[in-house]
């Protein structure tokens, strides 16, 4: 077995040294009726070639995004990741290290996390960011719990523009400890309606920007109304590239910003691993979940970095911790941070502009197709269209022609018949004019 260095001879000598007759002597504490003396019904070991054949065959059964005209977003986005990102994150010292518990020999991880925290705080326009969460949806759930701790109120209001999967996560997690979640109905723009729902029991209002339907909205008035009632505004950003062009939530009054960081540095990966971003105001620091890296000095006075404010965390606070989170998404944070460092301010701004300009172009070309209307008036790189007939079937027929054309809203909102004809489409810098030509030609055939 190629991964096991001990030889039968080693094993025999080591057992003798321990004073055990056989390996079974070391498992004596296992109750007799639970000992398995026969191998389980699973196939025997395989060489690299055999494993590669099996898994490549499975991979070959899928239609990968890069091999088709691709217009899917809705919480995960296909962007070009520079080659150096994947090379660097596969360095042994990053890939095969543990959480940086021994700072003297983990400065690499600690420094990049400090840089990552700074980048996230800058992008979102917030004071502080943590060292990452599992993904955007779990970060959103944690944000709602945090808002309840701060306000000592139990009621969360969630906009109808928030991704339904995020809404479901928030509802599930908040209900566990007795919280109430008020889910506003699906809506491209419900900010005014949300204001009317806020009362003195409201802990927080959760909105997404740009929202699930692609709409980019000014949140300032909402923020004012939320704060006027002593509640907190939580802003979800699922397409982090948008912040290269859009006013950050922090400048519109957000108290907590959570995001999905997958767009930078990380692939689609069929849903995971992704990268949860979490940023807030300094005054709420001690109620934050997750790991934090801080700057300090060593015994020689040299600058160094350490995990800090750990008393918030489960290994010290146990049942009074701000969260049970332990492992986060370190390597995904590294990929994000390297990609953003490569882009820099100029690169990110241009990337965001490309996304927006390309999306405008695709939206305008689709709007010209008979039977199609574009429903989202203002957007970044994602918009909702109406096919005039059930979108799920249109999207399925397009998939049959090798085109991945967006997410039918009936998949995300199965109980909203009004949305049955609509789909949300995303356009990024990876889309070509040919992709749009192919999409429109195929649409003319299937509509």
């Amino acid at each position: 077995m190629r991964y096991l260095p001990l030889t039968p001879h080693d094993r025999a000598e080591m057992l003798a040294m321990i004073g055990a007759k056989s390996i079974d002597d070391l498992f004596v504490d296992v109750p007799q009726q639970a000992r398995h003396f026969h191998p389980l019904e699973l196939p025997p070991h395989l060489g690299e070639l055999g494993v590669e054949r099996k898994l490549s065959a499975l991979a070959g059964k899928n239609l990968s995004a890069g091999s088709a005209p691709f217009f899917i977003g809705a919480g995960a986005y296909r962007h070009h990741v520079p080659a150096s990102v994947d090379h660097l994150i596969q360095r042994s010292e990053f890939l095969t290290s543990y959480t940086p518990y021994q700072p003297e020999i983990a400065q690499g991880t600690l420094q990049y996390l400090f840089e990552f925290q700074t980048q996230v705080a800058m992008l979102t326009g917030m004071d502080v960011a943590n060292a990452s969460m599992y993904d955007g949806s779990t970060a959103a759930g944690e944000a709602v719990l945090m808002a309840s701790r701060i306000t000592r109120r139990q009621r969360a209001i969630v906009s109808g523009g928030v991704h339904p999967h995020y809404r479901a996560v928030i509802e599930t997690v908040h209900a566990l400890s007795g919280g109430q979640v008020h889910l506003a109905p699906a809506s491209i723009d419900d900010l005014d309606g949300l204001i009317g729902m806020i009362d003195d029991q409201t802990a927080c209002v959760v909105v997404q920007n740009p929202n699930l339907f692609g709409a980019a909205c000014d949140l300032s008035a909402l923020a004012q109304a939320v704060h006027g009632r002593g509640a907190l505004l939580i802003v979800v950003v699922t397409e982090i590239v948008s912040l290269g062009l859009l006013t950050p939530p922090g400048e519109m009054g957000a108290d907590i910003v959570v995001g999905e960081g997958q767009s930078l540095g990380n692939g689609l990966n069929f849903g995971g691993p992704y990268l949860g971003l979490f940023a807030t105001r300094e005054k709420f620091l001690r109620q934050m979940p997750g790991r934090l890296v801080g700057e300090t000095v060593d015994a020689d006075g040299k600058r160094g970095f350490v995990l800090t404010l750990s008393t918030r965390e489960q290994h010290i606070r146990r049942d009074k911790a701000t969260s049970n989170i332990c492992t986060n998404a370190g390597l995904c944070a590294l990929a994000f941070s390297i990609h953003l460092t490569l882009l820099g301010e100029a690169g990110l701004t241009r990337l965001a502009e490309l996304n927006h300009a390309y999306a405008l172009d695709v939206a305008d070309r689709l709007a010209a197709v008979s039977g199609i209307s574009v429903l989202t008036p203002t957007f970044f790189n994602e918009f909702t269209i109406d096919f005039g007939q059930p979108a799920a079937s249109v999207v399925e027929r397009l998939a049959g022609r090798g085109i991945l054309a967006g997410v039918p809203l009936s998949r995300l909102w199965p109980d909203e018949p009004l949305l049955a004809n609509a789909a949300v489409l995303a356009v990024t810098e990876t889309n070509t004019a040919q992709d749009t030509d192919d999409l429109i030609a195929a649409l003319k055939e299937v509509l």
């Binding site: 001690r286 800090t308 008393t311 010290i316």
Partner: protein
């Protein structure tokens, strides 16, 4: 006259007010204190209520009110100088002052000798 609790708080009567903090033994167990979460002024508490939190880098401890009453003053100097708890746990490192509901509330608590004996029996 300073009295002590089994949760390692001290409390001292100062006219109608009782000031309290954590004992020198407790600060030694915690290590370098980095943060103290103080109660709000005006809060009414009963003896034994959790009233503050004191944290070092690797540990945290709830602090319980040694006596019941109303919080009338807090030692806000600890916000910027939590190390005062290490340097002077039973002096400048006091946490808050409580206006007592019952002036004889300290009677049931340990005196210095009894507390020292209690600590000795714990280790």
């Amino acid at each position: 006259m300073t009295k002590y609790t089994k949760d390692h708080e001290w409390v001292r009567l100062d006219g109608p007010l009782a000031s309290f903090g954590i004992t020198d033994f407790a600060q030694g167990q915690l290590g370098d204190v980095v943060f103290v979460e103080l109660p709000e002024i005006g809060r009414r508490i009963a003896a034994g209520d959790q009233i503050a939190v004191v944290e070092s880098v690797k540990a945290a401890s709830d602090v319980y009110a040694p006596v019941g009453g109303e919080v009338v003053e807090i030692n806000s100097a600890l916000v910027d100088a939590p190390d005062m708890v290490n340097a002077s746990a039973e002096g400048d490192g006091w946490f808050a002052k409580i206006k007592l509901d019952n002036p004889s509330a300290l009677d049931g608590l340990m005196d210095k000798a009894a507390y020292d004996a209690f600590v000795g029996s714990q280790s």
